[in-house]
Amino acid sequence: MLSFEHLSKTYADGTRALSDINLTVHEGEIVALIGGSGCGKTTLLRLIAGLDRESAGRIRLDGETLTGPHPAVGIVFQEPRLLPWLSVFDNIAFGLAGLSASEKKQRVTHALEKTGLVEHADRWPRDLSGGQQQRVSIARAFVTNPKVLLLDEPFSALDAFTRASLHEHLLGLWEETRPTVVLVTHDVQEAVTLADRAVVMRPKPGRIFDELPLTLSRPRDRTGLPFETSVRRILTALDHSLKAPQEQPQRERDRQAAALWW
């Protein structure tokens, strides 16, 4: 179980990227984070991955407070971030340094099979297409069997067709060990395809605006009515998250500022 308690992040330049985030993600749950640009989604993932430190509050994984990169947390970045000097095989094996050669080979081969990359095992990353590179990146995160997997718009640079096939690869890998997944996306369809719950965020400062459970059965039929309804509900929430906050809190803050001034 992954939980955020009063989590806040203010960058050195004073940007309030996150403010008082409270959320619990259950074990094996897939949560989609949706929200306008700049509402702190990437910041939240970086905090969980231990790449940045929170300004206040804490993140707990099964009761343990996270203070840095954790072995049970894996991340797939928006760009593949493969190491260009390693072959596809070695890139996937990058996080398996502690294992024996045979164990390593077995795990990587399995991941290669699951992501359909077997024939590319010995190639350099530069010889792969964008979608193939992103698959390597996903495989690299999965082979370490993380308890928590973070995905930051991993498919946003890909065309709809490639994206759909990567969704299948991702779900295929997820089925095996059922890690907890936090997926950042701009694509509402993607959220409804993959997630058990959509969390809509709102910017300035980044906060949680709304949560919508997505209880459709898997595999999900993208053409069915329930799917459409879910998409519409998220879009509506997203719409409100971008419009609503301007009025109320802004006036409230102005009044406070005025009170202080006078």
């Binding site: 971030r81 190491l83 260009p84």
Partner: protein
């Protein structure tokens, strides 16, 4: 610049015409054959100008249009070179020069790599080292010559020291700069997998800087050859630089030109060896390599 781009364009045009002729087979074939064609063509093009000028000059001297005493024709230079080679003189001089460059290069490159790595990987060390080294770099290296002679004598030590100084700075700057410019995104991958500092240096920083390190070493080697000439000017009885000085004092322009050609061949040879020996390390990067 323009001409090379033009030839690249024509090269592409011919190769695409070629592939459309061959149809599907050509599409399936790797592009390396096409690349090699373009490459060969360019090498030939590069030979054209010097060969044409040499032939013209040779003709002009043979037919009495020019005298050829101050600027000897190619045939005389080749004759001088082969005469020097036959007596074995050429090899002793070339070997001497090569040895000096090698020792100077090793000393300069090693210290450049060590100090470059230190100042590239630690902010404190950079603030400690870099200002001094940058100030020293501003001194024209030849200005050290009198001091080196006073300190180290007129024999090998002072020559090697001068070459080492020449090699040091490009290597130092290249290595430090390469480490500083390693992509933060790749370093973060290392952090996510919880690499220690040493592991991070070995598994991410080192491979990431290799291509630029090779370039730094190559420019260091080039400067090494520049400085060996200066070093051999300051009084040597052996070495290609000595052949130059001797040729000037004895009024033998063909010997000077022969020595210059030997320098060119030696420098190119050393550079090619360096490139070939580092190629396996940067094979993954050959997109950049092909442009060099």
């Amino acid at each position: 610049m323009i001409s090379s781009r033009e030839s690249a364009v024509t090269g592409q045009a011919t190769s695409s015409a070629w592939s459309s002729h061959e149809g599907a087979a050509a599409l399936a074939a790797p592009t390396s054959t096409e690349k090699r064609r373009v490459f060969d063509w360019r090498i030939l093009l590069g030979f054209f100008l010097p060969v044409a000028i040499a032939l013209l000059w040779e003709g002009a001297v043979t037919f009495g249009l020019a005298e050829g005493r101050i600027v000897p024709p190619p045939s005389r230079i080749i004759a001088t070179l082969s005469a020097l080679a036959e007596t074995g003189e050429l090899w002793t001089h070339a070997w001497m020069t090569l040895w000096r460059v090698l020792v100077g290069f090793l000393i300069g490159a090693l210290s450049g790599i060590v100090l470059g790595a230190l100042s590239g990987s630690s902010q404190t060390l950079r603030q400690l080292l870099d200002p001094t080294l940058q100030a020293l770099r501003a001194i024209p290296s030849i200005a050290w010559v009198p001091l080196f002679i006073l300190w180290l004598g007129i024999f090998e030590a002072s020559k090697v020291a001068l070459i080492a100084v020449g090699v040091f700075f490009p290597v130092y700057l290249g290595i430090a700069g390469a480490i500083l410019s390693v992509d933060r995104k790749l370093v973060e991958v290392g952090h996510v997998f919880r690499l220690s500092r040493v592991q991070l240096a070995r598994r991410i920083l080192l491979p990431a800087v290799l291509p630029e390190a090779v370039i730094a070493l190559r420019s260091g080697l080039g400067l090494g050859f520049m400085f060996v000439v200066a070093a051999e000017f300051m009084g040597a009885s052996e070495g290609l630089g000595y052949l130059l000085v001797d040729g000037q004092q004895m009024g033998k322009p063909d010997q000077i030109l022969a020595a210059i050609i030997a320098f060119a061949l030696l420098g190119k040879l050393a550079d090619s060896l360096l490139v070939a020996s580092t190629k396996p390390l940067v094979r993954w990067q050959d997109t950049v390599r092909e442009q060099l």
